[in-house]
Structures are given as structure tokens and as C-alpha cells.
């Protein structure tokens, strides 16, 4: 597995755990978590500067080996997403962008149609586009046609830690979609991430479950190990399940007809 490299968005990535940087209690804690996980891809958001509080620059706390993918959170339609993506690139963030277009404030579910539009527009501008989306096959096919670098279907609502509640649909995406499938949102425990990788997902993106753990650095590393484990299992050929039992010790009659 040492040469199991993910070729994505014009880059090669060894660590298939992408990490979001929101909600950490502070940047030092975040920094530790990213280091502990050996993160290679991290997401950031873009916001208006609040000049009252001279907050520190988050980029200074992201380890050098990490590649930063800005998201377009805050966008409510394709145009806003495009505008945010351009600002982020102007800010030096490179050409990857995670599209987030959300109108729904309760479940933070993505707007697949506006997300698709933004993907089309940004891919044409040369961005490597990673759309966060509802797990829908017909939309995912259009994302491929639009030139997306990957699709990022949700596991469950952002920050809910509810796990992979859309497993059935994600499994179909993995089978049918030829670009990487990256489960994003809702993964609450390392076993959720491991499960996604076993299904054949290319990567997962985790933020809340790490950031709000009691020990974020420990949890980051746990997720990282679980992602490796799930990937390795996928590559090692997971055996089928069976309805009945099948002995792991020989069943031949020990002592059965003995004295």
C-alpha cells in the first residue's frame, strides 16, 4: 500500500483523510491535530475581515506539507460561490476549491443545482472543483461532465456526527462514477470513515468530529489510522458475508467418539 497514491486534482495525495479547520478551540490545537493526522489536504473558509479584532492568520498554523483547499461556504447560489472561489485564489490558495452552496440553515444541505452550475463555471476557469453535494447519481454524472475533480456526497448533515446515513446512495456513486468519491459531512467516528473507505471511496473529509473531540489531536490521528485501515481493507479484498456460521476452528469430531 506504500504506493497507493491518490491522483486527484492534478496532485498526488497519500493521506486520504482530508481535514476541515473549523470549530477548533484555537489555532494551536488545530495545528497539533493536523500534524498528528499527517494531513495533506485541509480546507479553509473565506470571510470578511473583522478589523476590530486583529485575529491571527490561520494559514500560519497550517503545517507546510499541507495543501489548502478553500471552500465557498456562505454562498447561497452559484454566482456567490464563483466570486468566493476567485477571491480565495487571489488570496494565494491555489486552484482547488470545494463548492458549498447552501440555503438551508437547519440541515445545511447543499443545493445540487446551484452547486452544479458553480462547478461548471469554475472548471471552465481552470479550477479543480470539489463539489459538496447531496448523494444523487444523476447530478454526480453531470458533475463529471462539468469537469469536477471529484464528487463530495454528504454522509449526514454537517456537524451532526451522525455517520454515513446515505450509505446506500454512496455505494452506488462509488460503483457508477469514475472520478473520486469523497464522503464529506457527518462522519462522527473513525469507524464511519473506515466504512466509507471499505466501500471504495477515494477519501473522506472530516472536521467537526475532530475539532470538538475532547482531545482533537488524538482524534485526528484516530481518523487517520481508520482511513488507512479502511483503504487497506478495500485493497485486500473484503470477504462476503454469509447468513450462517462457518467454523474457524476445525469441526471434525474432537473427542466426539472417544472413550
Amino acid at each position: 500500500m506504500s504506493d497507493d497514491i491518490l491522483d486527484i486534482g492534478g496532485r498526488t495525495v497519500a493521506n486520504r483523510l482530508f481535514i476541515g479547520t473549523g470549530k477548533f478551540s484555537n489555532y494551536a490545537v488545530m495545528n497539533q491535530a493536523l500534524i498528528e493526522a499527517g494531513a495533506e489536504i485541509v480546507t479553509v473558509a473565506v470571510r470578511r475581515v473583522d478589523s476590530a479584532s486583529k485575529t491571527e492568520n490561520i494559514l500560519g498554523y497550517i503545517p507546510k506539507q499541507c495543501f489548502v483547499m478553500p471552500n465557498t461556504s456562505g454562498a447561497r447560489n452559484a454566482e456567490e460561490a464563483v466570486r468566493i472561489a476567485r477571491l480565495a485564489r487571489a488570496g494565494g490558495a491555489g486552484d482547488w476549491v470545494k463548492i458549498e452552496v447552501i440555503q438551508d440553515n437547519k440541515y445545511l444541505l447543499p443545493d445540487n443545482i446551484e452547486t452544479l452550475k458553480a462547478t461548471e463555471m469554475l472548471a471552465k476557469e481552470g479550477f479543480k472543483v470539489f463539489p459538496y453535494m447531496g448523494p444523487d447519481l444523476s447530478i454526480a454524472r453531470r458533475m463529471v461532465d462539468a469537469g469536477a475533480a471529484a464528487v463530495m456526497p454528504l454522509g449526514s448533515p454537517i456537524g451532526s456526527n451522525r455517520g454515513v446515513k446515505t450509505r446506500e446512495l454512496i455505494e452506488i456513486l462509488v460503483k457508477e462514477i469514475k472520478i473520486p468519491v469523497i464522503v464529506d459531512a457527518g462522519l462522527g467516528r473513525p469507524s464511519d470513515a473506515c466504512d466509507c473507505m471499505e466501500l471504495g471511496c477515494a477519501a473522506v473529509l472530516v472536521n467537526t468530529a475532530i475539532a470538538i473531540a475532547e482531545d482533537p489531536a488524538g482524534m485526528a490521528r484516530a481518523f487517520s489510522e481508520a482511513v488507512k485501515a479502511g483503504r487497506r481493507a478495500y485493497l485486500s479484498g473484503i470477504p462476503a458475508t454469509s447468513p450462517c456460521a462457518s467454523a474457524s476452528s476445525p469441526l471434525t469430531g474432537f473427542l466426539i467418539n472417544s472413550a
Partner: protein, 66 residues
């Protein structure tokens, strides 16, 4: 001179151009991106963009996000 900065109207006299503005706000140029009337202006060109009445400016930076 009334200028809209990050959605709020401000009354500014002193800063003559974008470079002045960023300096006046105490911001680190490397940490922010400036959108001037919906057009992104790179830091090297800030000094050449003179502010005028009713300009709309967005000054943004990166923060934590998932």
C-alpha cells in the same frame, strides 16, 4: 467620502487609495484579499487604485472552515 466596506457604510477622508486603507485598518497585506467594486485587486496594484465616493470594497481573509 462614503465608502461601503464589507457591507457597512464608512465615512473616510484620510485614505486616498486601497494601500492607504489597508494600512489605516492595521491589516497585514499578505493576509487579506481585496475586491474593489466587484473586481479583485492584487496587493501590488493597491496604491494605484484611488478611492472615491460610493466605492464598494470587500476585504477578506482565510478562517477555519470545513
Amino acid at each position: 467620502m462614503k465608502i461601503r466596506i464589507n457591507g457597512k457604510e464608512e465615512n473616510l477622508d484620510r485614505p486616498k487609495n486601497l494601500a492607504d486603507l489597508i494600512r489605516a485598518k492595521g491589516l497585514v497585506p499578505e493576509h487579506v484579499v481585496v475586491e474593489y467594486n466587484l473586481k479583485i485587486i492584487l496587493a501590488g496594484e493597491w496604491a494605484g487604485v484611488a478611492l472615491k465616493e460610493n466605492d464598494s470594497i470587500e476585504i477578506i481573509s482565510f478562517v477555519g472552515g470545513g
